[in-house]
Symmetry: C2
Subunit: 248 residues, 2 copies
DNA sequence: GCAAAAGTGTTACCGGTACACCCATGC
DNA sequence: GCATGGGTGTACCGGTAACACTTTTGC
């Protein structure tokens, strides 16, 4: 990561999810363009966290770099959910205006690689830098104005997340190091848009030997304090099963 | 698809799987480079079916075009399994020699998008054209000499296939329009590298209402003739279930 | 003592698994 | 009539789903 010369026709876009113990949120960057003379707002919408890759970095590094810049965090969970190369994906009228204005040598044909990122909301304080970044509930995205094909990419990422969460223990990436079972249940409910029976949910979790109770309990809550739990990836890797269940 | 000007730093590579009722095979293209003077073979290995995308086509179209060229078929099942952009993925010594020789204006940094393709072996007759294309059992790939990072891409595709086949009814893409239950079972066994109990397998299939018995039976076989079945995507789409099963 | 969330057990049903024999055909 | 693969049923077990009350804490 020395040169910083961008590849003009390849980018990565990160769909960053977070969980605030109530609902699922996504990190979006404000995009605003004002007329230089009269200050009139020409463009005001949101984009995903993305940028072109550099000539001397691979795709994963580019995604990590972007997230590090926004959140200050390394070691964020990152996974590709697809590559997108539609001919018109960055050529809506307002997007053309935007490119003319910023004039950074991007190509007018850009293939982007989408990354799903999961972050522990409690660890992050957003770095505003020169652009405005904030969390939005995923349920409000449908009504938002977004740049390029980023709304489409967001929904692709959300679908990928919902698919993966049923099959891999990635939801824990969205929780702090220790958490209560009610928090875990709320998270799954938010992710999948369903609700579960509390007792059955807990029975299921009890079979996951990689979700381990701690000595610690909640403190200072106006009800029976909850037990804290921990996700152990090591135990998970050791005990994962065959799961030869295909279809139906 | 008019210009045919290539994008020098973006390609697609197709990992094409086929099933011959015995084992799973993959389609590979022979790559050979001879010294122009003495005829000595400088390079002899295999590549995936891939090429650079054109300026005026999107990723899916590029993959379809490549497959149409090799097999003559449209409407092949195609799905991305990842994008790969390692800095050194096409720069092994022999690959550098290859690029120097063919001199087609490719970049030395190429990001490729991998496509998984499933084809019905009985429908295809390979088009040799100027290069040699043939089927290889997937079990022999480990010992083969391959170009670029294509062996790695092959295993990525195989893993993606094994994951998907458990969760979506895509195996049928590898079978002819009608097939016997033994053929279906052999296919799943080849895909997953396991074996199933015949009675239990058939009970499972019986619950898949989208696998429909035909009036037709096998003819001219030296044993009890088998019933033919049909996969109905329409019925599948209508009857698919919630499958809220996550992890363990 | 009351509000608020944590925590806990039983029963009924269904799907998964293990297992061995007869059947229809070609030669 | 024999070799070859096709086709079938039952018993047990484990997982899933439905369902209501008691416990601990802060105020």
């Amino acid at each position: 990561m020395i040169s910083h010369k961008i590849v003009p026709n390849i980018s990565v876009d990160c769909v960053v999810f977070g969980f605030d113990f109530e609902k699922l949120n996504v990190l979006l960057v404000e995009r605003e363009l004002k007329d230089e003379k009269n200050g009139e707002i020409l463009i005001s919408d949101h984009t995903l966290a993305g940028y072109h890759i550099f000539e001397d970095e691979d795709l994963d590094s580019a995604a990590s770099r972007i997230l590090k810049g926004l959140t200050g965090l390394d070691n964020i969970f990152l996974e590709q959910f697809g590559a997108y190369g539609q001919l018109d994906r960055v050529s809506a009228p307002k997007d053309k205006v935007w490119f003319e204005h910023i004039n950074k040598g991007f190509a007018d044909r850009v293939v982007t690689v989408g990354y799903l990122a999961l972050i522990d909301n409690t660890k992050v304080t957003l770095r505003l830098k020169d652009r405005n970044v904030s969390w939005f509930p995923v349920t409000t995205v449908s009504e938002m104005e977004m740049a390029f094909d980023h709304k489409f990419l967001f929904y692709e990422a959300l679908q990928a997340l919902q698919r993966k969460v049923k099959v891999e223990p990635i939801a824990f990436e969205l929780l702090p190091d220790y958490f209560t079972l009610s928090q875990l249940q709320k998270l799954y409910e938010a992710l999948l848009g369903t609700s579960f029976d509390k007792r059955n949910f807990r029975k299921k979790v009890a079979q996951m030997h990689y979700v381990i109770p701690l000595k610690k309990k909640q403190q200072g809550v106006a009800h029976k304090p909850a037990q804290y739990y921990l996700f152990s990836r090591e135990v998970y890797e050791k005990t994962r099963k065959g799961r030869i269940s295909f279809i139906i």
